[in-house]
């Protein structure tokens, strides 16, 4: 498990944005998650050595932020907002529907590793409620039929 030379160059660039190396930790964890899929203990060790930080510090940071995956997630990570504006627009039904459709609960991954599901807090798209996000893409004002269509396309 290692970053490529190009990625390491990118990390040097990121470090130069801050007066202290520690501040590069969150961006480097993002890169690591993109490359390795999730933040395992091995990744924690690697990132810690790369940035000259203690493993316990890195672990502490990883555990504080919900978007760093602490276990392998699906190729398509489906996030469903159920906070107020989405709840008022049946976001909960969407969550339950996807959960049943894929046979997975909150923070679980389907057996084939393709999908994982997460009930998320407001993702800042309330005007488009109900909102789901798949990996990095938002889908706003979605109906159950549309959700089916989107997921079936990915299957």
């Amino acid at each position: 498990m290692e970053f490529s030379l190009e990625e390491l160059k990118n990390i040097d660039e990121i470090k130069s944005h801050y007066p202290e190396t520690k501040a590069a930790l969150m961006p480097v964890l993002w890169l690591a998650q993109k490359k390795f899929g999730w933040i395992s203990n091995e990744v924690i060790e690697y990132v810690a050595s790369l940035l000259n930080l203690s493993e316990s510090h890195v672990k502490g940071v990883v555990s504080f932020y919900t978007m760093y995956f602490k276990k392998p997630m699906g190729k398509y990570h489906i996030q469903v907002c159920t906070n107020v504006s989405c709840m008022l627009n049946e976001g909960e039904l969407i969550f339950e529907h996807i959960s049943e459709k894929l046979g997975i609960k909150d923070m679980e991954r389907s057996a084939d590793g393709k999908f994982s599901l997460e009930e998320v807090e407001c993702i800042g798209a309330c005007g488009g409620a109900p909102v789901i996000a798949i990996n990095e893409d938002y889908y706003e004002k979605v109906s159950i039929a549309q959700v089916d269509e989107i997921i079936d396309r990915l299957k």
Binding site: H17, Y18, P19, E20, K22, A23, A24, L25, M26, P27, L29, W30, L53, G60, V61, S63, F64, Y65, T66, M67, Y68, Q79, T82, N83, V84, S85, M87, L88, N89, V120, E121, C122, I123, G124, A125, C126, G127, G128, A129, A133, E136, D137, Y138
Partner: protein, 443 residues
């Protein structure tokens, strides 16, 4: 009649996010105006405009800038708050998408005013798309020599600034200004005690100003039209335009730029096309989930600015308006909000960590019909005991939100609880209920 003709932040100009289009529309001319003034003159201009922060607390922006020490012995930083995690808020992302250069120009102007070395724009991790859009604009500004090392040459002036985006990773608390700084530094984002305030002891112990993205994006517009003109827009004590994000039960949800003081009912009925199926309104959250809710029957004449809303015991917050129709289960909404604050509490203060858990559990019991009327009082008393007893304002936010629902909609809560219990003998059962273990219900 609603006046929605003044568009200072989100004008209807196609492709304004392109550098060339922005430049053709007076882009980066406000910065030229800014550097023709001294730093003090510039800060005075912002003070004169009456601009107040758009991040929730409505603090006067010009005044905040004067807290920064003068001189350049220490590097000084600007942190632009684009965390936008308050439920019901979705306005800053419009700026990242549709007018990113005005935000960049605002950073340059604020940077010059305070002698800032580097600015960090903190954006929530879920906003991948908007981070990319803003990064593209920043890259273009660098290439054009508008920021960074080539800036001095471009503007023939001694000042230059670097601008970086720092991507969050899922934690509401990072919107709180000291938590945000911890997060940029690469730490678990526990809010810091204040004082010392960021202007004394901010990022890496250096003087730092934290401003919301909309606040900063407003500054170039102020210089464009002049502080005096700006101060005349909307309500004198809270002037200008606000980006109102309207969601919930309305026909046309979305972000609307409107002068402060616009009537809430006009926003809902004229701009947003009213409530689906012509239902009545049960309540409205006026400024993001933290701000106390208004009842549907008290909306007449309510103006949307901080001073007006204060008279109703609530605040403008982030101007995120959430409309709830007459069929809304307000107990459920309160429970959902309480769950959010409990989930997002960083846990370092006991009243916030425990109190939010208790509030959520009491609300769960109320929702399940297992509570008595006494529990509504207990809920309000827990809220009262969180307020003002914590390191940061997340505790207050949770208390305001929950107490707002329990007091404004008391009769709805009473409908789902059992009658008040009175005890004749020493009440062991009741006192025991006050411990967190016994408050837990298995739902």
């Amino acid at each position: 009649m609603i006046d929605n003709s003044i568009k200072l932040i989100l004008p209807d100009i196609p492709n304004l996010s392109d550098l060339e289009v922005y430049r053709k529309n007076k882009g980066y001319e406000s910065y030229r105006k800014a550097i023709s003034m001294t730093q003090d003159e510039l800060i005075n201009e912002v003070k004169k405009s009456g601009l107040r922060g758009r991040g929730g607390a409505c603090f006067p922006t010009g005044l905040k800038w004067t807290f920064m020490p003068k001189g350049n012995e220490k590097p000084k930083y600007l942190a632009v708050n684009g965390d936008e995690s308050e439920p019901g808020s979705f306005k800053d992302r419009q700026i990242f998408e549709y007018n990113p250069h005005q935000l960049i120009e605002g950073i340059m102007i604020a940077g010059y005013a305070m002698g800032i070395k580097a600015a960090y724009i903190y954006i929530r991790g879920e906003y991948h798309k908007w981070i990319n859009l803003l990064q593209k604009a920043i890259d273009d500004a660098y290439s054009a020599g508008l920021i960074g090392p080539k800036m001095k040459e471009t503007f023939n002036h001694r000042y230059s600034i670097d601008i970086y985006i720092h991507k969050g990773a899922g934690a509401y608390i990072c919107g709180e200004e000291t938590s945000l700084m911890e997060s940029i530094e690469g730490n678990r984002a526990y809010p810091r005690f204040k004082p010392p305030f960021p202007a004394q002891n901010g990022l890496w112990g250096m003087p730092t100003t934290v401003n919301n993205a909309e606040t900063i994006a407003t500054v170039p517009a102020i210089l464009r039209i002049g502080a005096e003109e700006y101060a005349k827009i909307g309500e004198p004590k809270h002037p200008g335009t606000l980006l109102f994000g309207v969601s919930g039960h309305v026909n046309k949800p979305g972000v609307y730029e409107l002068p402060t003081g616009t009537l809430l009912k006009d926003i809902i009925y004229e701009l947003c096309g009213g409530v689906p199926n012509n239902k009545k309104i049960k309540g409205v959250i006026p400024g993001g989930s933290s701000m106390p809710v208004l009842r549907g029957d008290e909306l007449e004449g309510v103006k949307m600015d901080e001073e007006s809303l204060k008279q109703y015991g609530t605040h403008i917050g982030t101007a995120g308006i959430v409309v709830m129709d007459e069929d809304t289960d307000v107990v459920k909404v309160a429970l959902r909000i309480a769950h959010f604050y409990h989930h997002e509490s960083c846990g370092q203060c006991t009243p916030c960590r425990e109190g939010n858990g208790w509030m959520e559990n009491i609300l769960k019991r109320i929702k399940l019909g297992e509570a008595t009327s006494n529990d509504i009082d207990l809920l309000i008393s827990v809220a009262n005991n969180i307020e003002s007893r914590t390191v940061c304002a997340l505790g207050d936010a949770a208390a305001w939100a929950v107490r707002g629902f329990a007091t404004k909609f008391r009769e709805d809560f009473e409908k789902v609880v059992k009658p008040k219990r009175t005890f004749v003998s020493p009440n062991i059962a009741h006192s025991k209920r006050n411990s967190p273990e016994t408050l837990l219900v298995s739902a």
